[in-house]
């Protein structure tokens, strides 16, 4: 029996029950559409972040300590102060390094501006003045950066400035209360734009490291030095990033203080902006696949729906099957006929599902202002899955149809 002939006859059967066929494919449509929507959203989100990061790409890298959690997968950051002043100086001395900004968070509990106070939401970080400025990682929206050792100057992020109903402007005084109960009053000398890749960062008050950071550690050489939980290194140009990263990585593998100070199971990582992008993309990918997987469960439901209707259809058409056998249909003709019918149902579900998924995804993405992404390989997968669902759910009904005894079928009145 020719495939074309089966398509013609199968299509007749499908269109003979329009409502039923439509309802049958709805399950597959919903399953495939939701998978596609999530893939569009995930892809668009990544594209959005990556695009923004690429736009304002800075020759900056972060030196961080990581560990693998004992249970589960992924990577956790460790906030251990292991990067000493000697390390900072050693890296500063390397070719192609613009600055090394040590940073360490200070244990602040409350931030006040005039009558208003914020608790908990604001971080306070000790760092160096070079990070802020038009040529730096964080451009200034207003004012200037603090002087290296001033003890009453601060740069605040735009998020902090707008946190208060009475926005913080340059020259305003802020009081910071620390965990030990001490309160310091500083003047906001600059407001920095600290959004990274279009994503707002935590509202942070930045203070000069020299006048505020006191955490020290005994170095392997027996000296007492300040030590930081992470470093930010800026290369002189984008071209310097890779060689610098290599040099720094090697340094941490050979004679850095941090190498000896860190826990054995911890590792030191030097992350460029590209690495960060990859990491974000990786996490988003995992999440998308996970959510997509959940959506795929509805495909299983959809295929059960098709199988169910096909079984009903076989029962209803027992007599027709008997007739076809009487006029010469072989078992495999009947299998082909019914299998094709459920494949057509699955394929319709896939086509409509992909179209609906792209449409809905496009709508959502445009509302969020993200770039549209067509998840081509997922569209291909969805199409294959649709046909696969058709085959799987059609196998048993088709086998049942082929096993119909024509004599029994024709005796039925």
């Amino acid at each position: 029996m020719k495939l074309r002939e089966s398509v013609r006859i199968g299509w007749r059967a499908i269109t003979g029950h329009k409502l039923r066929s439509t309802l049958t494919t709805v399950g597959v449509i919903i399953g495939i559409a939701s998978v596609i929507v999530f893939m569009v959203l995930g892809g668009a989100f990544t594209e959005n972040v990556v695009g923004d990061l690429d736009d304002e790409s800075e020759p900056v890298m972060q030196v961080v300590t990581q560990t693998e959690p004992e249970t589960g997968t992924g990577i956790m950051f460790v906030e251990a102060p292991i990067y000493t002043e000697s390390d900072v100086e050693a890296i500063e001395g390397m070719d192609g390094v613009d600055y090394v900004a040590p940073s360490g968070s200070l244990p602040a509990v409350q931030l006040s501006h005039g009558e208003e106070s914020q608790t908990g939401t604001v971080g306070v970080e000790a760092t160096i003045p070079e990070r802020f400025g038009n040529e730096s990682m964080y451009p200034l929206e207003d004012g200037e950066t603090f002087s290296p050792s001033a003890d009453d100057e601060a740069v605040v992020s735009g998020q902090v400035a707008r946190l208060f109903e009475d926005n913080v402007s340059v020259g305003d005084e802020l009081s910071i209360t620390f965990e030990d109960g001490e309160t310091e009053t500083v003047t906001a000398v600059g407001i920095a734009n600290t959004t990274v890749g279009g994503q707002p960062s935590q509202p942070t008050v930045y203070l000069p490291v020299d006048s505020h950071y006191e955490l020290t550690i005994e170095t392997p050489d027996g000296e007492t030095e300040r030590a930081y939980p992470s470093l930010e290194v800026r290369a002189e140009s984008m071209d310097d990033v890779d060689p610098t990263k290599e040099a720094i990585t090697e340094y941490f593998e050979t004679d850095a203080d941090a190498r000896e100070l860190k826990d054995d199971e911890h590792t030191i990582a030097v992350q460029t902006v590209d690495d960060a992008v990859d990491q974000v993309a990786g996490i988003v990918d995992q999440l998308t696949v996970f959510i997509g997987g959940i959506a795929a469960i509805s495909l299983v439901v959809g295929s059960i729906g098709i199988a169910n209707i096909m079984i009903v259809s076989v029962t209803e058409r027992t007599r027709e099957i008997g007739v076809m056998k009487a006029v010469g249909a072989r078992k495999r003709d009947i299998v082909q006929l019914f299998l094709l019918e459920s494949v057509i149902l699955g394929a319709i579900g896939a086509v409509v599902g992909v179209a609906a998924g792209i449409g809905l995804g496009y709508l959502a993405v445009s509302m969020l202002g993200w770039p549209m992404v067509y998840p081509l390989q997922w569209i291909a997968i969805a199409a294959a899955v649709g046909v696969g669902v058709g085959v799987l759910s059609g196998l048993y009904p088709a086998w049942r149809a082929a096993s119909v005894d024509p004599i029994e079928a024709l005796r039925r009145e």
């Binding site: 020719k2 007739v323 076809m324 009487a326 249909a329 495999r332 003709d333 004599i407």
Partner: protein
């Protein structure tokens, strides 16, 4: 009883030898109990008998839908019992045409598509199929109903479509199980006239009926009782 090889001109004879078919429904029932019958080429045979006497069972065996538990059925010299399911399907699709009491048309196919249904399974050639349907339907007086669905046709018209379908493969043997059973007398007579024409054109026909009046259109009447062949009645004025 007339067994043995009949003289045949054109087309192969169909022969049943000592055929037994037993059904088990709690206890065993011999639907056919040692029946021998041969259908010479071009013959027109009626099968009569009370309900449950094995008429349909005999027809199914001669039509390759079923195989005997004992004895043999030969079509064109080949024993049906030795054939695979696929080979028997091929035989049904190429050598045999069925006509049923309840027409048994495919409800979602047009008259023309119903007529050419047997070709779908055993003839890859699609070209000229519609013309073939037109010729066959014209022969049964339905040349103007090609694209009608079965439910748009009367009972008599449906049976004509079924006959046209049975002829689609130029079968050696035409089997009809009470073809007029669901029709009024007048329409039934029209259908019987079609069978008369087919016999005149040289077809081999076996027709099951329980009406004497209908059976008398044939050359001879085979009487079945309780699964046994009681008598073969040669009708006068026929050959």
């Amino acid at each position: 009883m007339s067994t043995g090889e009949p003289a045949s001109e054109g087309g192969s004879p169909v022969v049943a030898r000592d055929v037994r078919r037993t059904y088990y429904m709690g206890e065993s029932v011999d639907a056919l109990d040692g029946v021998s019958l041969s259908l010479p080429a071009g013959s027109y045979t009626a099968v009569m008998g009370p309900s449950g006497s094995g008429k349909s069972t005999l027809m199914n065996l001669l039509g390759c839908l079923d195989t005997p538990d004992e004895g043999t059925v030969e079509i064109g010299g080949r024993s049906v019992g030795d054939l695979s399911g696929g080979e028997r399907a091929r035989l049904r699709g190429t050598e045999i045409g069925f006509v049923f009491q309840t027409f048994n048309l495919m409800p979602r196919l047009t008259a023309a598509e119903n007529v050419t249904l047997p070709l779908v399974f055993h003839d890859g050639v699609e070209a000229g199929r519609h013309e073939r349907a037109e010729t066959l339907l014209s022969r049964v007086g339905l040349g103007d109903r090609l694209d009608h669905a079965p439910n748009e046709l009367s009972g008599g018209q449906r049976q004509r479509v079924a006959i046209a379908r049975a002829l689609a493969n130029e079968p050696t043997l035409l089997l009809a199980d009470e073809p007029t059973g669901n029709l009024d007398t007048e329409t039934g007579n029209e259908i019987l006239a079609v069978f008369d024409e087919l016999q005149a054109a040289g077809r081999t026909i076996l027709m099951v009926t329980h009406e004497r009046r209908v059976a008398e259109r044939a050359d001879r009447i085979v009487h079945l009782i309780d699964g046994e062949l009681a008598e073969i009645e040669q009708l006068e004025g026929k050959r």
